[in-house]
Symmetry: C2
Subunit: 330 residues, 2 copies
């Protein structure tokens, strides 16, 4: 692999999170699928917002959270994603640039507003997400900065990009450019319902385009429609260069060809699981692009995930670089 | 006192907080007065925002935080304050209404945007605030809902209202209506620099219009330009019906005529002191309007303050009603 200016460029739906504490009763009354990400339209977004409690706004988006994690470790990261030219869009851009991330996607001038994700956190720390994609769904091939992709060791894509038709094209475009330049392409499956929506596409993608896959237990079970984890792992094994599968409090399993590693989780008091998978990918990709072995990359993933679930919000609140140093991991 | 539909109506600058973790170095380099609230113009707000780290947006405003606290205890509360008809204004309105607070001030249609307060939290948990008042400074006498004030046991005003000229008029209007209806008027001095700006006005106000005063140690020292706390307390004593003076980790002192009570603080790990004084006032006023004695009101103030300083953000993240019940305070 030739030298690259960036460790990782992430592409995803650029979203601002609105996080509130909620109850199971509220989820049931408002027909919100617990633990999942559900796409909603503008009207439903207005309705839900009017019913939900006081919120805290902070920049989110799955791949953007991963990129924030990489930057927090001190990695060189860039992001591509579409916001509108409005207040939430300005907030998103400010927050990701403030982390030292290169972000230059041109905001949408008219039409849809910046995407928002209404996140209900129940007392069991589970998050249930209702996403209005707005401007983020209007990411197109034109937004894919070819020079940037060529200059990045890894291009990281979120499965959610498959939901908007234009973004899906941008996804394939970016993967093509990366591989042509001899770079790696990484994907996170995002969510088991997302896998449900795009199962065949994802199965094909993993065998043809993906070098490094991130998924959780329920996503790979959904992907291969198996009864359990072990069966899904055996189908997945060898399908891509590296696969890192997270299992919440059980830690993670990393597959590489026919080899595998079992990584224990970092134990913390769980406040809000939002961003756990995103940050695991951030820690792992930081480690991978620094040339660390997969076990160390997995441990950095666990560390980043443990930090983000110990507080509200989907991005780190402490320097992951300092945290990793305090644990002698870097 | 005749029966009232509301326990407390608060009037203040309606502000959205943008909270970020910062360093003393950043404060010095950007000439931000540590621990204080500094008024800034639109240009300075843009500049500071572009330099500061990734933030979390949540509704704030001193009196609004107090009102949020009262609502969280289960009190009947209302709020008057001006936002613009923009995204941050909608966020502010949503958040305060979601707490069950009556809020009906008409948003500003054009001109200034919704006020924002850039809050830098340093590792010592101190917050330094830079406020762009925007639309909040355009609160006028017309926004003072006379029927609401008459129907509230206490009208609670923040000292910061003295900064914008029109809001100051609204302040006097509200106090006049409340007293005419036989209701109580309460004031928080807000900040020692605010006291510096309006010392003579505040001294006069306290003796003529204020029934219940909230202040902290540095504010009363500034108010009477004394060398120490005890001297300031002795000047303040008897000047208004009740005065509750907070002293951070030393707890609070409540003065009533020539009598006094010393209230110990609730000890917690301090993460961010934003909102401590506001929530003390919230707990105290909730207790006072329920007819509890001043010691119990003070203990509810301490409890609410301890909750808000144990996390980032200026409003409670747990139900203060449940918290008070768990401590057998209500």
């Amino acid at each position: 692999m030739s030298a690259a200016g960036y460790d990782v460029t992430g592409i995803g739906n650029a979203i601002v999170d609105v996080i509130t504490q909620s109850t199971d009763k509220f989820l049931i009354e408002n027909k919100i699928e617990k633990g999942a990400m559900t796409l909603i339209d503008a009207q439903r977004a207005e309705e839900l917002y009017s019913r939900m409690g006081a919120g805290t706004e902070s920049s989110g988006g799955s791949a953007a959270n991963t990129i924030a994690g990489i930057a927090s470790f001190g990695g060189k990261a860039a992001y591509i994603g579409k916001v509108a030219d409005d207040q939430l869009g300005k907030t998103f851009a400010h927050d990701i640039k403030a982390l030292g991330v290169r972000y230059a996607t041109v905001p949408l001038k008219r039409g849809e507003p910046t995407a928002r994700c209404l996140i209900m956190v129940t007392p069991d720390a589970q998050r249930s997400m209702s996403t209005f994609l707005g401007a983020s769904s209007l990411l197109t091939v034109k937004d894919v900065d070819a020079a940037l992709i060529k200059d990045s060791q890894v291009t990281f894509l979120e499965g959610y990009l498959f939901d908007p038709a234009e973004a899906k094209q941008a996804f394939y475009e970016a993967a093509g450019i990366a591989h042509e330049a001899g770079r790696k392409v990484s994907l996170t499956l995002s969510d088991k319902f997302c896998v449900d929506r795009h199962r065949k596409d994802f199965q094909h993608l993993i065998e043809t385009e993906i070098d490094i896959l991130f998924a959780n237990e329920s996503e790979i079970v959904s992907l291969y429609e198996t009864k359990g984890f072990d069966e899904a792992v055996h189908i997945l094994r060898g399908k891509c260069e590296i696969a890192a599968v997270t299992r919440s409090e059980k830690g993670s399993v990393i597959l590489q060809g026919k080899d595998f590693h079992i990584i224990d989780p970092d134990k913390v008091k769980v406040i809000d699981t939002t961003g756990a998978g995103d940050l695991y990918a951030g820690g792992f990709l930081f480690g991978y692009t620094q040339g660390f072995d997969l076990v160390k990359a997995g441990r950095l993933g666990s560390l980043a995930a443990s930090e983000v679930i110990s507080h509200f919000g989907a991005r780190p609140m402490t320097s992951l670089k300092e945290l990793a140093r305090s644990k002698s991991l870097i």
